[in-house]
């Protein structure tokens, strides 16, 4: 994803270290003023997560890279519109990745899930800056997947169909032949349980680890 890297001025170590201490929200504000270095720090923090999510939806490889690239470009273009009250930069970015990945699947007419190919894994392993984040994600993943598995099947299913398959609640309702209100209710019950299971404290620790 070398093309993703915004052309930036060479920064001295002190300035770069200072940027790395900033929160994403602060960096976005700096990026608004045209500070590409600030945006690059955001990129470095979240490129692994963005790529991973794109892989999950599109399959590993060129398509996922394109999706991640598009998402960062969209984030850059939309940086003036960022509103902290509407959520974290990371969530916003992953929402963009998600939508871009789903759009791409729809355009290509391929909806089924794909696993990463062996090629894709090697490709990712070659990028050393991703490895550390991926290891952390791997540890977290076990925990999150366990929490998902603990949910009643009907709740887990609607969450997965919405988040990983990119279906709207209406599409899910049609697919499962259930009223839309029921689907939304299941989503809510499932998310409430996930939240309780995973804990806000740990979620905050996660965000800290990933974004700092």
């Amino acid at each position: 994803m070398a093309a993703l890297r915004l052309k930036s001025r060479r920064t001295d170590a002190t300035r770069s270290a200072a940027l790395h201490k900033r929160s994403d929200g602060e960096l976005i504000v700096l990026a608004r003023g045209g500070n590409a270095d600030a945006f690059e720090v955001i990129y470095d923090r979240h490129c692994a997560a963005a790529y991973s999510l794109a892989c999950r939806i599109c399959g590993a490889g060129g398509a996922a890279e394109d999706v991640a690239q598009e998402a960062f470009l969209a984030l850059w273009r939309a940086r003036d519109r960022y509103d902290a009250r509407r959520g974290e930069v990371r969530s916003w970015l992953l929402g963009i990745v998600h939508n871009a990945a789903i759009d791409r699947l729809r355009r290509s007419g391929v909806h089924k899930r794909r696993r990463a190919s062996a090629d894709g894994i090697e490709e990712r392993a070659e990028a050393p800056e991703r490895t550390e984040a991926e290891v952390e994600q791997c540890e977290q993943a076990r925990h999150v997947r366990h929490a998902l598995e603990m949910l009643p099947e009907e709740q887990r299913r609607v969450i997965e169909l919405a988040y990983f398959d990119g279906l709207t609640h209406t599409q899910i309702a049609t697919s499962l032949e259930q009223p839309a209100g029921t689907i939304k209710g299941r989503m809510r019950l499932g998310l409430v349980k996930l939240h309780a299971q995973l804990g806000a404290e740990e979620s905050a620790a996660d965000a800290e680890r990933v974004t700092r």
């Binding site: 692994a48 997560a49 991973s52 999510l53 892989c55 999950r56 590993a60 959520g87 974290e88 990371r90 969530s91 992953l94 929402g95 998600h98 939508n99 696993r115 990463a116 190919s117 894709g120 894994i121 991926e134 994600q137 791997c138 977290q140 993943a141 076990r142 925990h143 999150v144 997947r145 929490a147 998902l148 969450i159 919405a162 988040y163 990983f164 990119g166 279906l167 709207t168 609640h169 209406t170 899910i172 209100g181 689907i183 939304k184 209710g185 989503m187 809510r188 499932g190 998310l191 409430v192 996930l194 939240h195 995973l198 806000a200 979620s203 996660d206 965000a207």
Partner: protein, 67 residues
């Protein structure tokens, strides 16, 4: 469609908050929900909790993607 919700009908918005956090609302519903959200602290709080849960989901995705 106003931003004012009576207590009796609030469960409907809770479901919307969950679907919104999952990017699963229809476009027209997003507009309506966001208008409501601007006027409802309870829903903003609800949405924050939903988002905390949703924010954890990409972690599961990374492992499923092949690690």
């Amino acid at each position: 469609v106003s931003g004012v919700a009576d207590n009796g009908g609030h469960a409907r918005w809770q479901g919307d908050a969950a679907a919104y956090a999952l990017n699963a609302l229809e476009d027209a519903e997003v507009t309506v929900f966001e208008a409501h959200l601007a006027a409802c602290a309870q829903c903003r709080q609800e949405l924050d909790a939903m988002r905390e849960a949703v924010n954890r989901l990409p972690a599961a995705a990374s492992t499923l993607a092949g690690l």
